[in-house]
Symmetry: C2
Subunit: 412 residues, 2 copies
């Protein structure tokens, strides 16, 4: 049964790989229009999910993630319309060269094929992920959170109808229904059909997937991001950036979870930064040295390093020097986003060259690690692995390539 | 114990990521020189392997793969010297852009980290793989065939000494000794230390690795390549190309394993092609239609389609048209290299656009799928997967990238 889904996806992927840019643009536009036209019915389906959630005692924060409003539906639709305006990720010529023997070698972008996406509660991911996969010419198999099943089924139905209307196979979007996770387990092993599996969600989901999948996985999401305040930092800038990176949206993966302060400036920097953070009610989990200058902080323990709080809590540690800061990041970071604040260009260069992460910043907030901010448009997640794609995974990162070689009878 | 090897590799990878281009050039040059200087002792170590192989009744063909001669050692050394001359794969600026908010975003190539390579009998792979990994700034863990253990240990010792001499950590190259495959099994699960695992060898090895690994894998090697002779083909060219693709080196993955002949030209093309192939003693495994025009061919059965003969045997099938040819390739191909012979540009375009493989050829031999022929220099294998790298995997494909972002205090 699950293999049947894989087979259908592979078949649809073949057709999508041959589709024209115009057809894919038309499909995402129709998806957007149909979502808005069916807004009222979608909210009814979503209402069932909300009702079930309340029955099951789901927290208000989780219920809010699950909720669709007409505004949120309009956002979904506009996200799809933006994809329509993006340049075609397929058929880009990445390299072209005539070899000495006369062969013309072209490296051309092509779809990956079948992309499976496993995600949690928010139903808008259904439209976002399907739109991104489709715009890049891929078929997708979606497995959303069970708590959003009614909403997801409605959305998937709308998207499939739009595909069909645009002359594309409706199996380009398939939604998995597997209340007991059997489908997820099958996806993890479907090497014949799944070209890429993307888990979107918390650490538990991502660990489960990476520990069990034998299909290629794109690891996304977990972000334990640090900001290191160097001895040569502009301390006002440091306070601004740390405040922004922690407070502007604490629940996202590019938020700052830990600040590392050079010992020479701890006395001045920490009270200044703490003053700012206090305004937003941020709790500081502090090492012994930090506590000297921020006596009303909470004492940190070993479990605070490397913790993704995703809330208004920040860890703080005083370090001897750049080396100790980099050592800390290397040990506790998740290869996501790391920043240094300094006016010293040599120190900045050392940090940018030595810290291994998808994005390394000098004098800027870690919050910029985002497809939109990088000019890529929408993204399906932030990759924290080194293979294939690193950092924001946008349309171009959802493609592979093929070499096309034109000759006149050459042999070797 | 195996984790210890992973830890050491990770530690070495950190140092290598910070090494200068000059240091890595110096290391590969020293590797080359030391291999040649120690040629006699290496042949003694190799002699032990050969003696054991004979005792164990290894076939002469396998013994030949295992054998090192002074000429083969010189080839290994020269391969390393060519790597020294290649442009630095690290620190390439892949993209650089100043965003409207003033942030300067640079995408810069960086090493992948730790690369594990599992390979079979030929001991020269030890030097080739280590050289490629090191030149791109990666540490490697090598697991060669047990039958070459003495040769591999000697070579690895030489390479480690050269690293040390160049001021780099000798754990940049580690050779695994695991007669009972426990080390291989550990490598497959070492997500904390192994950034990429490359199996090099036969289908059995590659299937075992892809079915069991939870670390990222680069699937290489299996090549069931087809050549389709279209109704508008220049038949002399078709015969030349098929002869070349089958006969020039039948044991390699880019050799042709099956020809597909358009029904309209079967009568003329098949006797012509067969005449050429017969000169080299090639056996044709033929479908019923082929047999009509090549009566002395052997009758093929279902197992012939998709078979990687790696010898002077070729399958042959007459197809109705381009669609049937593409359908056959899609079903039996391995996403490696596929070719069409035709004088019709529309048909050629359709084939190049529709056939999904790492390399698709118009009027040229599949034998060109090779790092050297593509102008990449040495390669570690031909990728038959779509993620990360496709086709020849050279130095640039052994890197990842990092975004370095420079600001003046920007917040979001």
């Amino acid at each position: 049964m699950w293999n049947e889904i894989g087979k259908k996806a592979k078949q649809a992927a073949k057709a999508l790989a041959q589709s024209s840019n115009q057809q894919r643009i038309s499909a995402v536009c129709r998806m957007a229009d149909r979502l808005e036209c069916n807004s009222a019915m979608l909210m009814v389906a979503n209402g069932q999910d909300l009702q079930n959630a309340r029955k099951n005692g789901m927290s208000e924060a989780m219920i809010d993630r699950l909720r669709l409003t007409s505004e949120r539906i309009a956002q979904m639709a506009n996200g799809l319309r933006e994809l329509a305006e993006a340049p075609d990720p397929m058929n880009r010529v990445l390299m072209e060269e005539t070899m000495p023997n006369g062969l013309l070698i072209s490296k051309v972008s092509v779809p990956l094929g079948v992309i499976a996406v496993i995600y949690e509660s928010r139903p808008n991911v259904t439209a976002d992920a399907a739109g991104l996969c489709l715009r890049a010419g891929n078929a997708c198999i979606l497995r959303g959170g069970r708590e959003a099943q009614n909403s997801n089924e409605f959305i998937a139905g709308v998207l499939r109808a739009a595909l069909s209307e645009a002359g594309l196979p409706e199996d380009g979007v398939q939604l998995l229904y597997d209340p007991d996770r059997e489908g997820v387990k099958a996806l993890l092993r479907m090497r014949d059909y799944v070209d890429l599996l993307i888990p979107r969600g918390g650490k538990g989901l991502i660990d489960f997937v990476t520990q069990n999948a034998i299909v290629p996985v794109l690891q996304t999401g977990e972000g334990v991001c640090h900001i290191y305040v160097d001895k040569d930092a502009d301390l006002m800038m440091a306070a601004d950036i740390i405040y922004n990176a922690k407070v502007s949206r604490p629940s996202v993966c590019n938020a700052c979870e830990c600040m590392l302060i050079h010992q020479d400036v701890a006395e001045k920097a920490l009270p200044l930064i703490h003053e700012r953070l206090k305004q937003a009610g941020v709790i500081v989990r502090a090492d012994q040295e930090t506590l000297k200058w921020v006596p009303d902080a909470q004492a940190a323990d070993e479990t605070d390093w490397g913790k993704e709080y995703l809330s208004l809590i920040i860890a703080s540690r005083v370090v001897d020097d750049l080396d100790e800061a980099i050592e800390h990041i290397s040990r506790y970071g998740t290869l996501h986003s790391e920043a240094i604040i300094t006016e010293n260009p040599q120190t900045a260069k050392a940090f940018l060259d030595r810290v291994d992460a998808a994005a390394v910043y000098h004098n800027a907030s870690t919050r910029f690690t985002d497809g939109g901010e990088f000019g890529f448009g929408a993204e399906i997640g932030i990759s924290t692995q080194k293979l294939h794609a690193r950092g924001p995974v946008g349309l171009n990162e959802l493609t592979s390539y093929r070499y096309q070689i034109r000759g006149e009878g050459q042999t070797r």
